[in-house]
Symmetry: C2
Amino acid sequence: MGILERKEKQKLEIRKLILDASMKLFVEEGFSNVTIRRIADLIEYSPTTVYLYFKDKDEIFFSLHDIGFQKMEEMNRDLVTIENPLLRLHKMGENYIEFGLQNPEYYNLMFIQEEPMKKLSELGCDWVKGDSAISRLKATVTECMEKGYLKGDPHLVSLSVWSFVHGLVSLAIRERMEKFIPQKEMILPALKQSLNWMISNIEIDNRSK
Amino acid sequence: MGILERKEKQKLEIRKLILDASMKLFVEEGFSNVTIRRIADLIEYSPTTVYLYFKDKDEIFFSLHDIGFQKMEEMNRDLVTIENPLLRLHKMGENYIEFGLQNPEYYNLMFIQEEPMKKLSELGCDWVKGDSAISRLKATVTECMEKGYLKGDPHLVSLSVWSFVHGLVSLAIRERMEKFIPQKEMILPALKQSLNWMISNIEIDNRSK
DNA sequence: TTGGAATATTTACAGTGTTAAGTAAATTTG
DNA sequence: CAAATTTACTTAACACTGTAAATATTCCAA
Protein backbone atom coordinates (compact mmCIF):
# COMPACT_ATOMS: atom_id res chain seq x y z
CA MET A 1 0.00 0.00 0.00
CA GLY A 2 2.86 2.35 -0.83
CA ILE A 3 0.57 4.57 -2.83
CA LEU A 4 -1.80 5.25 0.02
CA GLU A 5 1.15 6.04 2.20
CA ARG A 6 2.44 8.57 -0.26
CA LYS A 7 -0.96 10.21 -0.49
CA GLU A 8 -1.13 10.41 3.25
CA LYS A 9 2.26 12.04 3.22
CA GLN A 10 1.20 14.57 0.61
CA LYS A 11 -1.87 15.38 2.64
CA LEU A 12 0.32 16.07 5.65
CA GLU A 13 2.63 18.19 3.53
CA ILE A 14 -0.15 20.50 2.45
CA ARG A 15 -1.41 20.65 6.01
CA LYS A 16 2.05 21.76 7.01
CA LEU A 17 2.08 24.27 4.15
CA ILE A 18 -1.13 25.78 5.49
CA LEU A 19 0.14 25.87 9.06
CA ASP A 20 3.43 27.46 7.99
CA ALA A 21 1.60 30.14 6.05
CA SER A 22 -0.78 30.78 8.93
CA MET A 23 2.13 30.97 11.33
CA LYS A 24 3.95 33.44 9.13
CA LEU A 25 0.94 35.75 8.87
CA PHE A 26 0.14 35.22 12.49
CA VAL A 27 3.60 36.03 13.83
CA GLU A 28 4.34 38.84 11.39
CA GLU A 29 0.96 40.53 11.24
CA GLY A 30 -0.90 39.30 14.28
CA PHE A 31 -4.00 37.34 14.97
CA SER A 32 -6.55 39.48 13.19
CA ASN A 33 -4.65 39.50 9.92
CA VAL A 34 -4.74 35.76 9.50
CA THR A 35 -7.55 35.15 7.04
CA ILE A 36 -8.33 32.08 4.99
CA ARG A 37 -7.91 34.07 1.80
CA ARG A 38 -4.49 35.36 2.79
CA ILE A 39 -3.37 31.90 3.80
CA ALA A 40 -4.59 30.64 0.44
CA ASP A 41 -2.70 33.40 -1.35
CA LEU A 42 0.52 32.45 0.40
CA ILE A 43 0.29 28.77 -0.43
CA GLU A 44 -1.05 29.58 -3.91
CA TYR A 45 -4.24 27.59 -3.62
CA SER A 46 -7.82 28.73 -3.70
CA PRO A 47 -9.37 29.69 -0.34
CA THR A 48 -11.71 26.73 -0.20
CA THR A 49 -8.87 24.26 -0.58
CA VAL A 50 -7.90 25.10 2.97
CA TYR A 51 -11.17 23.51 4.06
CA LEU A 52 -10.10 20.18 2.60
CA TYR A 53 -7.34 20.04 5.21
CA PHE A 54 -8.90 21.83 8.17
CA LYS A 55 -12.51 21.79 9.25
CA ASP A 56 -12.54 25.50 9.98
CA LYS A 57 -10.35 28.42 10.92
CA ASP A 58 -10.43 27.60 14.62
CA GLU A 59 -8.91 24.21 13.86
CA ILE A 60 -5.93 25.97 12.29
CA PHE A 61 -5.55 28.14 15.36
CA PHE A 62 -5.83 25.09 17.54
CA SER A 63 -2.97 23.45 15.67
CA LEU A 64 -0.88 26.59 16.05
CA HIS A 65 -1.67 26.57 19.76
CA ASP A 66 -0.25 23.05 19.85
CA ILE A 67 2.89 24.17 18.04
CA GLY A 68 3.23 26.93 20.61
CA PHE A 69 3.39 24.37 23.38
CA GLN A 70 6.02 22.45 21.45
CA LYS A 71 8.15 25.58 21.19
CA MET A 72 7.76 26.17 24.88
CA GLU A 73 8.67 22.59 25.74
CA GLU A 74 11.74 22.94 23.58
CA MET A 75 12.75 26.00 25.57
CA ASN A 76 12.42 23.98 28.78
CA ARG A 77 14.34 20.98 27.46
CA ASP A 78 17.54 21.55 29.39
CA LEU A 79 15.65 22.32 32.58
CA VAL A 80 16.09 18.77 33.84
CA THR A 81 19.79 19.43 34.33
CA ILE A 82 19.04 21.75 37.23
CA GLU A 83 19.32 19.64 40.36
CA ASN A 84 17.87 22.09 42.89
CA PRO A 85 14.08 22.04 42.42
CA LEU A 86 13.60 25.60 43.64
CA LEU A 87 16.20 26.88 41.20
CA ARG A 88 14.47 24.80 38.54
CA LEU A 89 11.12 26.32 39.43
CA HIS A 90 12.70 29.75 39.23
CA LYS A 91 14.18 29.03 35.82
CA MET A 92 10.83 27.65 34.66
CA GLY A 93 9.26 30.93 35.62
CA GLU A 94 11.91 32.93 33.81
CA ASN A 95 11.51 30.80 30.71
CA TYR A 96 7.76 31.25 30.86
CA ILE A 97 8.11 35.00 31.04
CA GLU A 98 10.64 35.11 28.23
CA PHE A 99 8.55 32.85 26.05
CA GLY A 100 5.49 35.02 26.57
CA LEU A 101 7.24 38.28 25.83
CA GLN A 102 9.07 36.89 22.81
CA ASN A 103 6.09 35.05 21.35
CA PRO A 104 3.06 37.12 22.26
CA GLU A 105 0.95 35.68 19.45
CA TYR A 106 1.64 32.10 20.48
CA TYR A 107 1.14 33.01 24.09
CA ASN A 108 -2.19 34.50 23.16
CA LEU A 109 -3.39 31.28 21.58
CA MET A 110 -2.06 29.14 24.41
CA PHE A 111 -3.30 31.08 27.42
CA ILE A 112 -5.53 34.00 26.46
CA GLN A 113 -7.66 33.44 23.37
CA GLU A 114 -10.97 31.69 23.90
CA GLU A 115 -11.19 29.85 20.56
CA PRO A 116 -8.74 27.00 21.22
CA MET A 117 -10.60 26.02 24.39
CA LYS A 118 -13.94 26.22 22.58
CA LYS A 119 -12.53 23.86 19.97
CA LEU A 120 -11.50 21.47 22.73
CA SER A 121 -14.92 21.27 24.34
CA GLU A 122 -16.40 20.97 20.86
CA LEU A 123 -14.25 17.90 20.27
CA GLY A 124 -14.99 16.69 23.78
CA CYS A 125 -11.37 16.04 24.60
CA ASP A 126 -9.14 17.66 27.19
CA TRP A 127 -6.34 20.14 27.07
CA VAL A 128 -3.50 17.62 26.67
CA LYS A 129 -0.71 20.11 26.05
CA GLY A 130 -1.78 22.48 28.75
CA ASP A 131 -2.40 19.75 31.28
CA SER A 132 1.02 18.19 30.79
CA ALA A 133 2.69 21.58 31.25
CA ILE A 134 0.68 22.00 34.45
CA SER A 135 1.76 18.54 35.57
CA ARG A 136 5.40 19.42 35.12
CA LEU A 137 4.93 22.54 37.19
CA LYS A 138 3.15 20.57 39.89
CA ALA A 139 5.87 17.93 39.96
CA THR A 140 8.53 20.57 40.46
CA VAL A 141 6.56 22.30 43.20
CA THR A 142 6.00 18.96 44.94
CA GLU A 143 9.70 18.21 44.77
CA CYS A 144 10.42 21.63 46.30
CA MET A 145 8.20 20.69 49.21
CA GLU A 146 9.70 17.24 49.67
CA LYS A 147 13.14 18.79 49.87
CA GLY A 148 12.04 21.50 52.24
CA TYR A 149 12.23 24.53 49.98
CA LEU A 150 8.50 25.21 49.99
CA LYS A 151 5.58 24.41 52.23
CA GLY A 152 1.82 24.15 51.80
CA ASP A 153 -0.52 22.41 49.40
CA PRO A 154 1.28 21.68 46.09
CA HIS A 155 -1.98 22.07 44.21
CA LEU A 156 -2.67 25.50 45.64
CA VAL A 157 0.92 26.66 45.30
CA SER A 158 1.20 25.52 41.68
CA LEU A 159 -2.01 27.28 40.75
CA SER A 160 -0.80 30.41 42.48
CA VAL A 161 2.65 30.42 40.92
CA TRP A 162 1.26 29.89 37.46
CA SER A 163 -1.36 32.61 37.93
CA PHE A 164 1.36 34.93 39.07
CA VAL A 165 3.60 34.56 36.04
CA HIS A 166 0.62 34.50 33.70
CA GLY A 167 -0.55 37.75 35.24
CA LEU A 168 2.82 39.36 34.66
CA VAL A 169 3.09 38.22 31.05
CA SER A 170 -0.49 38.86 30.01
CA LEU A 171 -0.66 42.34 31.49
CA ALA A 172 2.62 43.16 29.79
CA ILE A 173 1.73 41.91 26.31
CA ARG A 174 -1.69 43.51 26.49
CA GLU A 175 -0.09 46.89 27.25
CA ARG A 176 -1.48 47.32 30.74
CA MET A 177 1.90 47.82 32.39
CA GLU A 178 2.91 51.15 30.96
CA LYS A 179 2.23 52.95 34.21
CA PHE A 180 4.45 50.51 36.10
CA ILE A 181 7.08 50.00 33.41
CA PRO A 182 7.11 52.93 30.96
CA GLN A 183 10.19 51.78 29.04
CA LYS A 184 9.62 48.78 26.81
CA GLU A 185 13.13 47.43 27.30
CA MET A 186 12.62 47.37 31.05
CA ILE A 187 9.67 44.98 30.90
CA LEU A 188 11.66 41.76 30.91
CA PRO A 189 13.96 42.76 33.80
CA ALA A 190 11.03 44.14 35.79
CA LEU A 191 9.03 40.95 35.35
CA LYS A 192 12.01 38.86 36.38
CA GLN A 193 12.52 41.04 39.41
CA SER A 194 8.89 40.52 40.34
CA LEU A 195 9.36 36.78 39.99
CA ASN A 196 12.43 36.94 42.24
CA TRP A 197 10.43 38.79 44.85
CA MET A 198 7.62 36.26 44.68
CA ILE A 199 9.87 33.23 45.06
CA SER A 200 11.89 34.74 47.88
CA ASN A 201 8.59 35.35 49.67
CA ILE A 202 7.30 31.82 49.43
CA GLU A 203 10.52 29.93 50.02
CA ILE A 204 11.14 28.60 53.48
CA ASP A 205 13.75 30.60 55.32
CA ASN A 206 16.67 28.27 55.98
CA ARG A 207 18.96 30.83 57.60
CA SER A 208 17.89 29.52 61.02
CA LYS A 209 19.63 26.22 60.28
CA MET B 1 -28.28 79.30 24.29
CA GLY B 2 -31.08 77.00 25.44
CA ILE B 3 -31.46 75.40 22.07
CA LEU B 4 -27.83 74.37 21.71
CA GLU B 5 -27.95 72.96 25.18
CA ARG B 6 -30.99 70.87 24.36
CA LYS B 7 -29.31 69.57 21.22
CA GLU B 8 -26.23 68.68 23.17
CA LYS B 9 -28.41 66.80 25.60
CA GLN B 10 -30.19 64.91 22.85
CA LYS B 11 -26.87 63.98 21.35
CA LEU B 12 -25.76 62.57 24.68
CA GLU B 13 -29.03 60.68 25.00
CA ILE B 14 -28.52 58.86 21.73
CA ARG B 15 -24.93 58.15 22.68
CA LYS B 16 -26.26 56.57 25.84
CA LEU B 17 -28.83 54.64 23.82
CA ILE B 18 -26.04 53.21 21.70
CA LEU B 19 -23.91 52.35 24.70
CA ASP B 20 -26.83 50.70 26.49
CA ALA B 21 -27.62 48.62 23.45
CA SER B 22 -23.97 47.65 23.02
CA MET B 23 -23.75 46.77 26.69
CA LYS B 24 -26.83 44.60 26.49
CA LEU B 25 -25.54 42.65 23.50
CA PHE B 26 -22.10 42.55 24.97
CA VAL B 27 -23.11 41.21 28.38
CA GLU B 28 -25.80 38.87 27.11
CA GLU B 29 -24.16 37.53 23.99
CA GLY B 30 -20.49 38.32 24.39
CA PHE B 31 -17.92 40.36 22.58
CA SER B 32 -18.12 38.82 19.14
CA ASN B 33 -21.87 39.25 18.86
CA VAL B 34 -21.73 43.01 19.21
CA THR B 35 -22.03 44.30 15.66
CA ILE B 36 -22.89 47.75 14.44
CA ARG B 37 -25.92 46.39 12.65
CA ARG B 38 -27.27 44.65 15.73
CA ILE B 39 -26.73 47.74 17.82
CA ALA B 40 -28.60 49.72 15.18
CA ASP B 41 -31.44 47.19 15.22
CA LEU B 42 -31.81 47.52 18.97
CA ILE B 43 -31.96 51.30 18.98
CA GLU B 44 -34.06 51.28 15.80
CA TYR B 45 -31.77 53.43 13.73
CA SER B 46 -29.85 52.65 10.59
CA PRO B 47 -26.35 51.25 11.03
CA THR B 48 -24.67 54.36 9.71
CA THR B 49 -26.34 56.54 12.32
CA VAL B 50 -24.09 54.92 14.90
CA TYR B 51 -21.15 56.56 13.14
CA LEU B 52 -22.60 59.99 13.80
CA TYR B 53 -22.10 59.40 17.51
CA PHE B 54 -18.97 57.24 17.59
CA LYS B 55 -16.00 57.41 15.28
CA ASP B 56 -15.77 53.65 15.01
CA LYS B 57 -16.57 50.42 16.78
CA ASP B 58 -13.46 50.59 18.93
CA GLU B 59 -14.63 53.90 20.35
CA ILE B 60 -17.79 52.18 21.57
CA PHE B 61 -15.74 49.47 23.20
CA PHE B 62 -13.52 52.08 24.75
CA SER B 63 -16.54 53.77 26.31
CA LEU B 64 -17.75 50.44 27.65
CA HIS B 65 -14.29 49.84 29.09
CA ASP B 66 -14.70 53.13 30.94
CA ILE B 67 -18.10 52.08 32.27
CA GLY B 68 -16.49 48.87 33.47
CA PHE B 69 -14.09 50.85 35.61
CA GLN B 70 -16.99 52.83 37.04
CA LYS B 71 -18.74 49.62 38.03
CA MET B 72 -15.58 48.39 39.66
CA GLU B 73 -15.06 51.66 41.55
CA GLU B 74 -18.64 51.42 42.77
CA MET B 75 -17.89 47.96 44.13
CA ASN B 76 -14.90 49.38 46.01
CA ARG B 77 -16.80 52.39 47.39
CA ASP B 78 -17.14 51.14 50.96
CA LEU B 79 -13.54 49.99 51.04
CA VAL B 80 -12.42 53.20 52.77
CA THR B 81 -14.23 52.11 55.91
CA ILE B 82 -11.67 49.36 56.49
CA GLU B 83 -9.09 50.82 58.85
CA ASN B 84 -6.45 48.11 58.65
CA PRO B 85 -4.64 48.58 55.32
CA LEU B 86 -3.71 44.93 54.96
CA LEU B 87 -7.32 43.88 55.47
CA ARG B 88 -8.27 46.57 52.97
CA LEU B 89 -5.76 45.24 50.47
CA HIS B 90 -7.15 41.77 51.01
CA LYS B 91 -10.71 42.95 50.44
CA MET B 92 -9.58 44.85 47.34
CA GLY B 93 -8.20 41.61 45.99
CA GLU B 94 -11.40 39.74 46.76
CA ASN B 95 -13.48 42.43 45.10
CA TYR B 96 -11.23 42.33 42.06
CA ILE B 97 -11.64 38.58 41.75
CA GLU B 98 -15.40 38.76 42.22
CA PHE B 99 -15.74 41.57 39.74
CA GLY B 100 -13.76 39.65 37.14
CA LEU B 101 -15.70 36.42 37.55
CA GLN B 102 -19.06 38.15 37.60
CA ASN B 103 -18.35 40.52 34.72
CA PRO B 104 -16.05 38.62 32.38
CA GLU B 105 -16.98 40.74 29.38
CA TYR B 106 -16.20 43.99 31.16
CA TYR B 107 -13.06 42.48 32.61
CA ASN B 108 -12.04 41.50 29.12
CA LEU B 109 -12.29 45.07 27.86
CA MET B 110 -10.57 46.50 30.91
CA PHE B 111 -7.61 44.17 31.21
CA ILE B 112 -7.39 41.70 28.33
CA GLN B 113 -8.60 43.02 24.99
CA GLU B 114 -6.08 44.95 22.92
CA GLU B 115 -8.48 47.36 21.22
CA PRO B 116 -9.08 49.81 24.09
CA MET B 117 -5.35 50.36 24.53
CA LYS B 118 -4.89 50.79 20.79
CA LYS B 119 -7.56 53.47 20.90
CA LEU B 120 -5.71 55.20 23.70
CA SER B 121 -2.40 55.40 21.88
CA GLU B 122 -4.32 56.47 18.78
CA LEU B 123 -5.75 59.39 20.73
CA GLY B 124 -2.36 60.00 22.33
CA CYS B 125 -3.75 60.15 25.84
CA ASP B 126 -3.10 57.90 28.80
CA TRP B 127 -5.08 55.23 30.57
CA VAL B 128 -6.79 57.50 33.11
CA LYS B 129 -9.16 54.92 34.57
CA GLY B 130 -6.58 52.20 34.77
CA ASP B 131 -3.91 54.47 36.18
CA SER B 132 -6.13 55.74 38.97
CA ALA B 133 -7.04 52.20 39.95
CA ILE B 134 -3.35 51.40 40.02
CA SER B 135 -2.71 54.47 42.15
CA ARG B 136 -5.28 53.34 44.71
CA LEU B 137 -3.62 49.95 44.89
CA LYS B 138 -0.22 51.54 45.30
CA ALA B 139 -1.48 53.85 48.05
CA THR B 140 -2.86 50.92 50.00
CA VAL B 141 0.33 48.91 49.60
CA THR B 142 2.38 51.91 50.73
CA GLU B 143 0.17 52.32 53.79
CA CYS B 144 0.67 48.64 54.58
CA MET B 145 4.40 49.22 54.58
CA GLU B 146 4.24 52.36 56.68
CA LYS B 147 2.25 50.49 59.30
CA GLY B 148 4.55 47.50 59.24
CA TYR B 149 2.33 44.95 57.56
CA LEU B 150 4.41 44.62 54.44
CA LYS B 151 7.99 45.27 53.43
CA GLY B 152 9.84 45.96 50.20
CA ASP B 153 9.42 48.33 47.30
CA PRO B 154 5.77 49.49 47.04
CA HIS B 155 6.10 49.77 43.27
CA LEU B 156 7.32 46.21 42.89
CA VAL B 157 4.88 44.80 45.40
CA SER B 158 1.88 46.56 43.83
CA LEU B 159 2.80 45.32 40.38
CA SER B 160 3.21 41.82 41.74
CA VAL B 161 -0.04 41.76 43.67
CA TRP B 162 -1.99 43.05 40.72
CA SER B 163 -0.37 40.56 38.36
CA PHE B 164 -1.23 37.81 40.76
CA VAL B 165 -4.96 38.52 40.96
CA HIS B 166 -5.12 39.29 37.26
CA GLY B 167 -3.50 35.95 36.57
CA LEU B 168 -6.09 34.16 38.69
CA VAL B 169 -9.05 35.91 37.10
CA SER B 170 -7.90 35.82 33.51
CA LEU B 171 -6.93 32.15 33.55
CA ALA B 172 -10.29 31.36 35.11
CA ILE B 173 -12.46 33.30 32.69
CA ARG B 174 -10.50 32.02 29.71
CA GLU B 175 -11.13 28.42 30.81
CA ARG B 176 -7.52 27.49 31.54
CA MET B 177 -8.19 26.39 35.11
CA GLU B 178 -10.27 23.28 34.52
CA LYS B 179 -7.40 20.99 35.47
CA PHE B 180 -6.94 22.84 38.76
CA ILE B 181 -10.58 23.57 39.49
CA PRO B 182 -12.86 21.17 37.61
CA GLN B 183 -16.09 22.33 39.24
CA LYS B 184 -17.27 25.74 38.10
CA GLU B 185 -18.78 26.63 41.46
CA MET B 186 -15.43 26.06 43.14
CA ILE B 187 -13.62 28.69 41.10
CA LEU B 188 -14.45 31.67 43.31
CA PRO B 189 -13.54 29.94 46.60
CA ALA B 190 -10.37 28.48 45.08
CA LEU B 191 -9.26 31.87 43.80
CA LYS B 192 -9.95 33.46 47.17
CA GLN B 193 -7.99 30.70 48.87
CA SER B 194 -5.09 31.39 46.55
CA LEU B 195 -5.28 35.08 47.43
CA ASN B 196 -5.26 34.19 51.13
CA TRP B 197 -2.17 32.11 50.64
CA MET B 198 -0.45 34.88 48.72
CA ILE B 199 -1.14 37.56 51.31
CA SER B 200 -0.16 35.37 54.23
CA ASN B 201 3.12 34.75 52.44
CA ILE B 202 4.02 38.38 51.90
CA GLU B 203 2.83 39.81 55.21
CA ILE B 204 5.41 40.41 57.90
CA ASP B 205 5.17 37.86 60.65
CA ASN B 206 4.24 39.73 63.83
CA ARG B 207 3.91 36.71 66.08
CA SER B 208 7.39 37.44 67.50
CA LYS B 209 6.06 40.62 69.10
C1' DT C 1 -9.08 4.43 -23.03
C1' DT C 2 -12.51 4.96 -19.85
C1' DG C 3 -14.82 5.42 -15.43
C1' DG C 4 -14.55 6.78 -10.93
C1' DA C 5 -12.42 8.71 -7.01
C1' DA C 6 -9.72 12.42 -5.13
C1' DT C 7 -8.55 17.05 -5.34
C1' DA C 8 -9.07 21.76 -6.56
C1' DT C 9 -11.63 25.79 -8.14
C1' DT C 10 -15.60 28.75 -9.14
C1' DT C 11 -19.48 30.73 -7.55
C1' DA C 12 -22.31 32.15 -4.10
C1' DC C 13 -24.33 33.39 0.51
C1' DA C 14 -24.72 35.82 4.53
C1' DG C 15 -22.35 38.36 7.33
C1' DT C 16 -18.76 42.27 8.84
C1' DG C 17 -17.00 47.53 9.44
C1' DT C 18 -17.22 51.61 7.11
C1' DT C 19 -17.76 55.54 3.52
C1' DA C 20 -20.13 58.49 0.12
C1' DA C 21 -24.09 60.22 -1.66
C1' DG C 22 -28.78 61.41 -1.20
C1' DT C 23 -33.00 62.97 1.44
C1' DA C 24 -36.00 65.07 4.55
C1' DA C 25 -36.68 67.75 8.47
C1' DA C 26 -35.28 71.54 11.50
C1' DT C 27 -33.33 75.88 11.97
C1' DT C 28 -31.49 80.28 10.66
C1' DT C 29 -31.55 84.10 7.74
C1' DG C 30 -33.24 87.74 4.47
C1' DC D 1 -43.34 84.33 5.83
C1' DA D 2 -40.31 82.23 2.23
C1' DA D 3 -35.70 80.91 0.93
C1' DA D 4 -31.34 79.18 2.20
C1' DT D 5 -28.68 76.51 5.05
C1' DT D 6 -27.56 73.39 8.43
C1' DT D 7 -28.53 69.05 10.88
C1' DA D 8 -30.04 64.29 11.33
C1' DC D 9 -30.73 60.34 9.20
C1' DT D 10 -31.03 56.69 5.48
C1' DT D 11 -29.86 54.18 1.28
C1' DA D 12 -26.54 52.17 -1.50
C1' DA D 13 -22.25 50.58 -1.99
C1' DC D 14 -17.32 48.87 -1.17
C1' DA D 15 -14.14 45.75 0.31
C1' DC D 16 -13.68 42.55 3.30
C1' DT D 17 -14.76 38.05 6.24
C1' DG D 18 -15.79 32.59 6.95
C1' DT D 19 -17.77 28.98 4.68
C1' DA D 20 -20.98 25.68 1.68
C1' DA D 21 -22.41 23.77 -2.76
C1' DA D 22 -21.69 22.99 -7.36
C1' DT D 23 -18.48 22.49 -10.82
C1' DA D 24 -14.18 21.42 -12.97
C1' DT D 25 -9.77 19.14 -13.15
C1' DT D 26 -6.36 15.71 -12.14
C1' DC D 27 -4.97 11.14 -11.14
C1' DC D 28 -5.00 6.25 -11.22
C1' DA D 29 -6.83 1.50 -11.79
C1' DA D 30 -9.41 -1.59 -14.69
